[in-house]
């Protein structure tokens, strides 16, 4: 029997966080894609995309870093898969801005000292799963349906904005996360703060901001009747999971709301061994919830 061939192949840009605070996102992504027979090949020696701080004060730097990464990604075949919503946004914005602004194109080319190679399609994991792979196939791959689990899908601000840049879904009323996780049989709740900002940018400098904004998000998810929150961005995760205890202390309200990366839940459903899903790394432990739902 010949070894099963991958159905799809992608180059992979994990982004800084996935190698550190979001390592469970990275691990579960790899686990999931393997289970789904989707090839994922990390771009060697990729660089930081510059995230918010770079474009905040130096757009040219931000564009150059992203353009460099796009260039580097050409070393590996396949569209560029991106897990982090912020990296995804920066890479897409770069393609967009440079396509429409000749002056900036020249400046970036100068900074890189190379002709620009920006054409590789950049895709968020959600897009790959929902469109390239397909929801039917995803549903078919489910071994452990997540039925009974009430999930609040949190998009955050960057996944779908600004309007014609990411082109992932309707920018004000997206449903791609719900559709993807819905394929596992999970129940998605409807709630008000799906796209409100968590304050990511201020994690370091102004935690007070984060406590306020992320607190409102947790409260909204609770109101919506969710058991847990699902995110597709390490920055969101950082604020909602890592700071959840602080938020609870500051607000005097208890949430105990596990915050999953979408790939953690999908991999769980696809039967990937729970030891590879990094549940232990989460600050708010999901263990009792998953046990209660018969998923552990």
């Amino acid at each position: 029997m010949t070894p099963a061939k991958n159905i799809l192949n992608y180059s992979y840009y994990p982004g800084c966080s996935l190698h550190a605070s979001a390592k469970e996102y990275d691990e579960s992504t790899r686990g999931l894609f393997k289970a789904l027979k989707i090839g994922l090949h990390e771009v060697p020696d990729w660089l930081c995309c510059g995230a918010t701080p770079a474009h905040n004060v130096d757009e040219l730097l931000s564009l150059s870093l992203c353009a460099k990464n796009l260039e580097l990604s050409n070393q590996v075949d396949g569209d560029l898969a991106v897990a982090c919503a912020a990296c995804f946004s920066r890479l897409k914005v770069t393609q967009h801005r440079l396509a429409e602004n000749e002056e900036k194109r020249h400046q970036v080319a100068y900074a890189l000292d190379a002709p620009l190679a920006l054409d590789k399609p950049v895709k968020h994991l959600l897009e790959i799963l929902a469109t390239d792979f397909g929801l039917d196939r995803l549903a078919a791959a489910v071994q452990k349906p997540l039925s009974g689990l009430k999930v609040a899908c949190y998009y955050g601000c960057l996944l779908t904005r600004p309007p014609d840049v990411p082109e992932l879904d309707d920018c004000e009323d997206p449903s791609i996360m719900e559709r993807v996780i819905g394929a596992t049989g999970a129940e998605t709740v409807s709630w008000s703060h799906r796209m409100e900002c968590c304050g990511a940018n201020f994690t370091l400098s102004r935690p007070g901001v984060v406590l306020k904004l992320s607190g409102e998000i947790l409260a909204s998810a609770k109101r919506g009747g969710a058991d847990c929150i699902m995110v597709a961005c390490p920055l969101c995760h950082g604020n909602l999971d890592i700071r959840q205890k602080e938020i609870e202390e500051a607000s005097g309200r208890h949430y105990g709301m596990p915050v999953f990366y979408m790939t953690q839940l999908l991999a769980l459903a696809a039967g990937v061994s729970t030891s590879k899903l990094g549940f232990g790394s989460m600050m708010v432990s999901p263990v009792s919830l998953l046990k209660e739902k018969g998923l552990l």
Binding site: A54, V57, A111
Partner: protein, 194 residues
């Protein structure tokens, strides 16, 4: 300053500055008709002394000192809500970027030093390591901002969860990073970029 009288004339309206902002952001400020939708949805509105619409309004009148004086631009989270919903396609998030850049360059008179510090460290990190190392970023930030105890409680638990790496691999593109930085600086020295 905020409440002092504003005298308008060709001299007091720094429209050159506004042109620069428009150029950097790729967005018109004149298109704004002050509907306030940007401010209505801005998550950071309550932290800002000038709500986003007022920033645009001040720009329309060429009042850049008033814009840069406040800490508002540093409290923008770059969430793009304003840009997404503006009926006139005023790209406020990009305008905020442009303003921060101009304020940054001018060693701006901003009151918001902590955000600036975090940004600076972040960018320094990239320049030195090519990637972001959160542990180091946090540590240095705390050191420099004098907030030694800040996140003290969080640090150890993150650490035990394996979320903060102390050691990191050397990036083979590190030399290229440095060259990108210096070529950008060179462009600016030559006045070919802002």
């Amino acid at each position: 300053m905020k409440h002092s009288k504003m005298t308008l004339s060709a001299e007091t309206m720094n429209l050159g500055f506004v042109k620069k902002v428009e150029q950097l952001s790729g967005s018109s400020v004149r298109r704004c008709f002050q509907c306030g939708k940007c401010s209505a949805g801005c998550p950071m509105r309550s932290f800002m002394e000038h709500p986003p619409n007022r920033i645009v309004r001040l720009l329309q009148l060429g009042q850049f000192e008033r814009v840069l004086a406040g800490r508002s631009i540093w409290y923008c989270a770059s969430c793009e809500t304003c840009t997404t919903r503006c009926p006139n396609k005023v790209d406020l998030a990009a305008i905020m970027d442009a303003l921060r850049k101009l304020s940054w360059d001018a060693q701006g008179p901003s009151k918001e030093s902590l955000v600036q510090l975090a940004n600076r460290l972040f960018i320094d990190n990239i320049r030195t390591y090519g990637r972001q190392y959160e542990m180091r970023l946090a540590a240095v930030f705390n050191l420099k901002s004098g907030k030694l105890l800040k996140d003290f409680m969080l640090g150890p638990s993150l650490f035990t969860k394996g979320k903060l790496k102390v050691f990191h691999k050397k990036n083979r593109n590190i030399g290229e990073i440095e060259r990108i930085f210096s070529r950008i600086e060179e462009l600016r020295r030559k006045g070919e970029a802002t």
